[in-house]
Symmetry: C2
């Protein structure tokens, strides 16, 4: 088992990564001392792991809530349902919530925990690659609004992130590829060597090789923990983690959160961020080609259909990085060197959108 | 103008108290630098002050939202409506929300600000005595759940509290009396001299004397700012501010939030906390009589009808101070000396509820 730590003073917490951790029933119990626990999962993950998790928490009082699967269900109405479950079971401020599933489950369970009684404790048990490398770490919780991704939410740090890499054995290939987009993102923003490692070992990752997957989970969490520890509330550097996301969120919200997995949209967003960086004269064409090759080999979709450039731009305007009405973007100087800027030519953005949308 | 400060490090903020502050249009502008502002008010307050506040914010972009009046409307559904307004107007993370009204408006506008884009800035402009002495200070935001008061919410500190004492001139007598309950609470928990002052000056307060009201607002805010500065998230001493509230919240939720003003329920709750403290052999009967006399003179209702002791107890079990299934109560050793305890005889609580409910 690997243990990393997110250093946030009194809100610090460990990330435990290892094979078969869900079978070690003492682990979850140790980090979730509450006597009343709500385990939140979804219709796909629950049949696979919910019994084991609930069982490992006995003799605590365990209540289970199973949400529908998918980004389209990440709504305030569903968080309200979780709050109703907490209230109906008369859970106190000393209860805990456990998120067992992917990013959607984690974001909603975490937001419910943030709001219930003005904040109760919660634990992340991510079962998708995307959640294991990204969304379970850092305390961003929330839901989508029809007009924009993650517009409603809270910063609320979990008490532990418990990643059992064995859960990836049951992960559909499409979900695995979506998770790889966030992994590639880490290489692009600050670790060129890691990007190179991904180029070399991509086939092992796509084949589900446990050692290769464990490596990318660990390295991704290291990078994320370090950045979040420096800038919990995204006043500065944390925005780098949004590379590809301003474009990607527009893809998701413009298509009603029903067609694209978040990671898939991020993959397309990374391509657009690279193209835009090239348009701005920052990134070389050869590096753009390297990025395009790796994302293509990952099996991530590149073609965005049914969304006009104008519609995409409208959705980008709802991005949380907008400041003074101006869309701020994360761009690349080279692979491994990202930065946030509002200083770019509108024409470059237009050309990028024209090339990828519609 | 009096200026107090809530000391919370990077989240510190001033409380400005004075007559006619809403007429000094530079004040609000100075503390609300955002260019996009949502002013939230209710159907009673809006016709009186909304135009003046919106006007003082020009040439900013000002959007107004008017909520229905009353505790029964402090719901997640209404906060969702405020979030829709923010989204529909494409407000960014650099926007601000202004709460113009009483505690219900302040709690909902503050919670919307806490959740929108994971937190935007907001200002409190309280127009009721209760909001001016209590709810506008300290960053507790949220909504009611049918099963329990304030069960859903967030700690989110405002950027400024701007209290124009002249707004009390338009406050209905019933609302003024409700606010006095929270004022009396401060004397009870930690300031016997202030309690004595209230006994002497109550008639002036009830007559709406500006100097007397300004004094109680200032002193109440001093006490609250000091306690919140010590314990922002109610890990310890802040719970003292809940004297009378565990009982009072049960009155409110058991009656569907429609019959009692919050302050009225707190008044009844203070009586029950005093009676319970006496039952436990802590508080003398003569002090209970003093408390009963002051609350009676304030014109606060003492009779709770239509709620059985059993129903009241059920609602008390949803209190946020419940720990390990045990209801913690704020009790009095004497006037000016409150403490939090779970160490009391169940029989004492039963007798207290029997004497006041049903």
């Amino acid at each position: 088992m690997n243990t990393l730590k997110v250093e946030l003073g009194s809100r610090s917490y460990p990330i435990l990564i290892g094979e078969g951790l869900l079978g070690r029933r003492e682990l979850l119990g140790q980090h979730v001392p509450a006597r009343d626990v709500l385990v939140v999962s979804n219709a796909i993950v629950a049949p696979l792991y919910l019994d084991a998790v609930s069982e490992s928490l006995r003799p605590r009082r365990v209540v289970e809530a199973v949400l529908p699967d998918g980004e389209a269900h990440k709504t305030l109405a569903n968080v309200a349902r979780l709050l109703d479950v907490l209230v109906a079971n008369r859970f106190g401020r000393d209860c805990a919530v456990i998120a067992l599933g992917g990013g959607v489950v984690g974001d909603m369970a975490g937001f419910a925990a943030a709001c219930y009684q003005r904040g109760v404790s919660y634990a992340q048990v991510p079962t998708t690659l995307l959640a294991q490398v990204d969304s379970s770490v850092g305390g961003k919780t929330g839901v989508n609004h029809p007009a924009g991704k993650n517009l409603i939410g809270a910063f609320h740090q979990p008490s532990v992130v418990l990643t059992d890499t064995r859960t990836l054995a049951t992960l559909p290939a499409r979900e695995l590829r979506a998770g790889l987009a966030e992994v590639i993102k880490y290489g692009l923003i600050c670790d060129a060597a890691f990007f190179g490692w991904l180029e070399t070992h991509l086939d092992e990752l796509l084949a589900g090789d446990p050692a290769a997957l464990a490596h990318v989970i660990r390295r991704s969490c290291e990078i994320k923990a370090e950045i979040v520890g420096r800038d919990e509330r995204e006043q500065a550097d944390r925005a780098l983690l949004n590379l590809g996301h301003t474009f990607g969120h527009a893809v998701e919200s413009a298509t009603g959160y029903t067609q694209w997995l978040h990671g898939e949209a991020v993959g397309a967003g990374l391509l657009m961020a690279a193209a835009m960086s090239c348009e701005c004269g920052l990134l070389s064409e050869s590096e753009v080609a390297r990025i395009r090759r790796l994302i293509g080999r990952s099996g991530l979709p590149e073609k965005i259909e049914g969304v006009t450039p104008q519609a995409a731009l409208e959705h980008m305007r709802m991005d949380k990085k907008v400041q003074g009405g101006r869309i701020r973007l994360v761009l690349l100087r080279k692979i491994g060197d990202a930065f946030v800027t509002a200083d770019y030519a509108e024409a470059a953005l237009s050309r990028t959108l024209q090339a990828h949308f519609g």
